[in-house]
Symmetry: C2
Subunit: 311 residues, 2 copies
């Protein structure tokens, strides 16, 4: 049996009791390595689980899936994923390979960023399509995620923006593969991917750069730039400097931080270390507004007309 | 400290290790009663947690929140919620009351139906607004959720349909409060509400009817009726008998069941006991289609043009 087990979002103890039991009895336990954005590392997990963990990075999952699945028809193998196995990251490929090999699988769910963002008080019900925001380079500054945000907003929906992580030297082609405008977003996995520098990639060296995480500040700044660009193009963007947003850092961890305010305010708010996410609010119910006020950079931002619209 | 703790979706062991530790040390532990759609009851939870649980039904939460919060500034109180505390059901009201009373709170997240539906292989990224499907009465047959599904589909998005539970004798006004067309859906809590019969409601008796859960079959039948209605009105609905859908039963439980197929097929598929949910698929990536085929009522349904659109 292949077990896909969600670890949740905080630390080692966010695994479920059921998940922990499975981890303890499995023959082999893999940890999806490009995920390790828990507040603790592999060693802390190993100590708490009392098990050695085999790191399975993107390469391993894609190229060595057969190793992971080896004998999983005869013994139990666990594949651990930060968040939920079918949250922001999809592990459909591993499931499909398993089924093809006649291996049964089971999912042990947990919280993922996709549902835990509800902690800010915005209703999960009222979210539209989720978008990924990627780092711009000098020559590549995609804006299509902005169109999705605007479409959600026009429909009154909130937008969850996942902020992509990458090394400074990531290749442009790699980055483009993360972000395919007008196609399907299957790349949130890359929030957490190990990245090779262009030089090492060309040399075939498996040396990875230290990661760089996008902050809410950076995402807000990119959005503000797009707002300006659109105005220069004669558009009247739906999302503006005064649009209400939420910045979330380390959701589910002990030092989780949430800040709500205008897009302008979020470009300077201090939320600390990764992982950050951001929400662009759509229409809000009074109860949603009351909740967001708990995290307000400046409560008066909530007194204008925008958030009262349609309520 | 007030702890809002998600219990996940399956049984007693789906609580997180962290959540269980908190439950064990809290002075009082409340179980949100209108949630109990785990596969186990209160007694099984009490046995596993080693703690007595105080049932807190809708009435208690709304009218007796002060009891729940009593002394929570001096001691620790836990409020247990099936799924995630900010999943389909919102507990913002309790949080806001706590903050007003100067009581700190913490959320211990878990899987909820809002993210666990990803197990069918459809990307959470690509879901639009979530809708609730309610039981029709002879005189009240709302169709506005259908418009939301169609809007999502036009935008290429999937729609999660939460299927509402209620007693057979629920009052129409109560049902209308569950489902407010063109306004905000704050009522998924009511999937799990204890219902009074009209007679008992009028007499002021606190006698609740045994609940009736909507099945995927029933939801599909209602949708098929709306499709027919729309055609009679001269419309060409976007959602039809051959639209691909997913029926999910008891997600996260050992006997979870998933079936994919056309809306017509789902009107007769057998998924067993509650709780059921349903997804109306939007545009699909080939990987999403491959996953859905694992659960196909009839794989040939996936060979037509519809699901290939935009891929």
């Amino acid at each position: 049996m292949l077990y896909l087990i969600g670890l949740g979002l905080g630390d080692a103890k966010d695994i479920t009791v059921k998940g922990l039991e499975v981890v303890k009895h499995c023959r082999r336990v893999y940890l999806e390595a490009y995920t390790s954005v828990l507040t603790v590392g592999k060693e802390a997990l190993e100590e708490f689980y009392g098990r050695e963990l085999i790191l399975a990075d993107r390469e391993t999952v894609e190229q060595e899936a057969d190793n992971i699945l080896k004998d999983a028809d005869l013994c139990d193998v666990a594949f651990l994923v930060v968040g939920d196995p079918f949250g922001a990251t999809t592990h459909s490929d591993l499931v499909l390979r398993a089924v093809k090999l006649g291996i049964s699988y089971r999912v042990i769910h947990n919280a993922s960023i996709m549902n835990a963002v509800g902690c800010c008080g915005l209703q999960l019900y009222n979210f539209g399509e989720t978008v990924s925001v990627v780092f711009w380079t000098d020559t590549w500054k995609p804006e299509s995620f902005f169109d999705k945000i605007q479409k959600n907003k026009q429909n009154g929906m909130h937008t969850l923006c996942l902020l992509v992580k990458m090394s400074e030297k990531i290749t442009v082609s790699r980055m483009k593969s993360l972000f395919v405008p007008n196609k399907y977003n299957f790349y949130p996995a890359d929030i957490k991917v190990k990245e090779q520098s262009l030089e090492n990639l060309m040399k075939g060296n498996k040396i990875y750069e230290s990661p760089r995480y996008m902050s809410v500040n950076q995402a807000a700044e990119q959005l503000l730039t797009i707002v300006q660009n659109r105005r220069l193009q004669g558009e009247e963007p739906e999302v503006t400097e005064s649009t209400l947003c939420v910045g979330l850092a380390r959701v589910g961890a002990m030092d989780q931080k949430i800040a709500s305010g205008t897009l302008q305010q979020l470009s300077t708010v201090e939320l600390g270390g990764p992982l950050h996410s951001m929400i662009i609010a759509g229409n809000m119910h009074p109860l949603e507004i009351d909740m967001l006020k708990l995290f307000a950079v400046d409560e008066s931002s909530f007194e204008d007309n925008e958030c009262q619209r349609n309520t």
